[in-house]
Symmetry: D2
Subunit: 296 residues, 4 copies
């Protein structure tokens, strides 16, 4: 019943209990019992109710069951060893965890060993909400937590992972609040109009300062990009650079400026802290000035 394009909430409500569990058994890592526990509560009017019921089922389970659920998650650094579920594999690849350098790999190994020694469980984090840098910072911060707080933190991450997986595979009239988006808008204050044809790039910084290009595009006649810079997913927590080719834009429009132009490639560096919200980063520009702000 699950296909590449997902299943509808309507279909899930109408399915046999067996098919329901087959469809949603992987939402909680290797733990189809969570889906089974809520099958009898159907029909669900909204995806949010289904998600809430599954969260409640986990919370109602015994401490041993919850501990087991945690234990069934792979270590982050397990990637090279190869025993990941398909879901975990795709999620962890997104943050570049499948392409760690030797030194990063060693750093992750050390964190994993320290974490397991202190807490006796694997480190769980919803990878799609993070960049490599923010994972490392989270790892180091959470190593300072108490055992009780960390148990709760692990469950909270599991709920985030599960909500994203539900959102990926079930179509419904409502949407879970698991995605954010990143957009820009360029206004030309020299001519009082949207800046059309402004080339721009979005890059993500890793913690060592290296940048990885996320997207390269150009503004349309509204001064916006045809597609969101990031959309339909959480915006990974991390540090970014938007870079606008202001020099090219004004040269092509034959606006007389200095030689070389005062503004050529204009970078805007900013950080994302809330992956499920809207980050709108406009640029107001003339050949001699620019400004930006967190918009909406």
């Amino acid at each position: 019943m699950i296909t590449a394009t997902g299943v509808s909430l309507e279909q899930l409500n109408a399915a046999s209990a067996h098919d329901f569990v087959a469809a949603l058994g992987g939402v909680y890592e290797r733990s189809p019992w969570v889906a089974a526990a809520v099958a009898g509560q159907r029909p669900f009017a909204m995806l949010a109710s289904l998600n809430a019921a599954m969260v409640a089922a986990v919370r109602a389970a015994s401490p041993e069951q919850r501990r087991a659920l945690i234990e069934l998650h792979p270590d982050l650094a397990a990637l090279r060893i190869g025993n990941l579920t398909a879901e975990s594999k795709s999620e962890q690849g997104g943050a570049g965890l499948d392409a760690l350098s030797e030194s990063d790999y060693a750093r992750f190994q050390r964190l994993r060993d320290a974490y397991r020694q202190k807490f006796g469980m694997p480190f769980i984090i919803c990878v799609r909400r993070h960049t490599r840098g923010s994972i490392l910072r989270q790892y180091e911060q959470r190593l300072q937590s108490s055992v009780e707080a960390e148990f709760d933190a692990a469950l909270a991450e599991i709920f985030r992972i599960a909500a994203l997986r539900l959102s990926d595979r079930v179509k419904a009239t409502d949407e879970l609040p698991v995605t954010g988006c990143l957009s820009t808008h360029v206004l030309d204050n020299y001519d009082g109009c949207p800046a059309r044809g402004m080339p721009l790039t979005l890059s993500e910084f890793s913690d060592d300062g290296a940048r990885r290009m996320v997207i390269e595009t150009v503004t349309n006649h509204e001064g916006r990009t045809d597609a969101l810079l990031i959309g339909g997913r959480p915006i990974p927590i991390g540090h970014y650079e938007l870079r606008f080719d202001v020099g090219y834009y004004y040269a092509r429009r034959k606006i007389p400026t200095a030689d070389p132009p005062f503004l050529q490639s204009v970078p805007i560096e900013f950080s994302v802290a809330e992956p499920e919200t809207h980050y709108h980063i406009p640029l107001l520009v003339t050949p001699w000035s620019f400004s930006t702000y967190r918009g909406s």
Copy 2:
């Protein structure tokens, strides 16, 4: 009579012709005849008149003399060979020409050979007005000139070099218009006051994108820097980055923002085209916005 701290115009006016030429013989490269030609016109009321007289003496000389003056200037790439005057050595070191990579050195050699072949003279440029990148661009542009235009261009550069040398060594009540300055000012629009204690750096980009830090400093209680970022000299034509540690500034002031803060290290990239003017690059900032412009 020339000392580390220079000579006064008054002293030059009162000196013997011999001492006058001894003091200013190096203003035009290996060409004390220029100083000798104007010694009889003393007294000079202003440094500008002395400078103008020396320029006029060069213009009044025969074409052969002017050609010889040009020929007496070292090639830019001569630096490694070692036959530079003290003046040339210090000037060319400033643009990093004494630390060229092998490939840059080879590029300069090729340009030198092409230039000499076309124009039959060394390539002359007032190095203190340039960064390595802008020298290379000038070199390539001027290779496209006609022989006549390039002869004039070489003389114009010689006049710039001479004016800077005069300005360096002669104290007078007036100043030659051979210096510019670069300044900044940080205003905190969150609290409506100057931003005190904002760390910042100024870096210069070379043409290959590498950056070289020019200065690292912090704003004072007026939101300005105690000293000009660049001052008392031409601002080398080139591409720069001012970078402000906005995240540190607001964290120290305990302003609640996001974690990580939306703005942390804020770069402003700009280019200098007119070395003898004032570039004022302010930053208006809140934890969620910033703007900049070419000020005054």
Copy 3:
């Protein structure tokens, strides 16, 4: 067939010629012959084709017919005399022409007499595109025109009036480009979010500096207004003031500022020159700064 809610293009295409002319006979002032001239060209796929056909019919008519069409328009100042068509009455009331002071009325009378004496026809202007001030300026400018140019100008205004009337009464899948809109958006750069609950007013200035409030409203949770400030019609050419109660906004949010606050009621004055476009006038604000620009 014409009702308060208009007629559809489909109905017009299907109607008898008689009904078609009855429905559109008033589009050109007292000149049903224009509608009659295009009835045989039906069906019209789009409203734009119907409008273009009626324009073409006027252009194809004899000079005497065009002159007669012009003559059938009422003088602007005829308002008090009372022989207006219903369409003209509603249009002219919008610009406040039904409430002229004695001195304004006298000024209009003088302009009317001078215009008729020079051009031998009434002064025609598409009133819905204007404020009282811009009508007076147009009147005075067009009095300087040549007879030929003014004949064309009168026809151009008639085409604008007709397109607006068509747009008002005919529903179609396309829209004639006869409307503009005016919007705002308030961003709080102090907290990095949309400014919700910011009271604001839009006023229109008349030429004597008096202001007439157009709308009083408050921003919603997106920092926008629920309805466009002006929409669904041309924005009258003229001078406007947007005024934001920034002091109230920050006081209600308990942001500590000065007493009295540096910014209280913040006015933005701007002019509209192109009634059929979008004017977006955002406000970026903190307790100590604000900026605005023509956005999109």
Copy 4:
């Protein structure tokens, strides 16, 4: 010894006790005993020490003496009756208290009666720090105070009045912190340079919304005004408007914009809360945008 141009601290230090008291007897209203009390402490190295000594003498006096000092001050509304000292007359005229309308005069009378009934003394305020509107607000606020608090408030105002009078008439190497200033700076972000020749006005609003022009001027080649807009005195607490003729500026420079221009007369309304500080209100402008902030 006192002349139109004042007396020097040096002269005061060298004078006889009699002359000293004659020179400074009016610093505290009709109370030469304050000057007499500090004559023996001479010499004063700085004006600040002289001022502090006089404040201390008042504080050291008996409650009856202090009460008497307060009583010797005229009521604000006494202006029409005519028994003011020269100092009081000039101070109160500055806030327009010599030109009250009948209704304002009646309002002041009512406040005076209520104040005297509650506190048994005249209402004292340092008029030069206020506009008419802020005096009325102060009057109404202080009517709510306790008797003890109001006694202290009256003395605090007396100390402010005295410091301003000292500052007016005594020349010293130091200055009392009793003055502020108001300045502007216009930057043209269209051309990246200071806006030269921008006409501007500064007006003060009274509490009924009427405005009184303070100064009308034009920016110089640095985009500043030749003189401070307000300087050498406290900036009266109140509400102001700076208004810039942006439309004229760009029209004169032949910058093509809309007709009418989007920005013509640009107002900035702001309030002054701290009369002894620097208010710098810049304008950054293009034909399509502007911004302002409290600068420094």
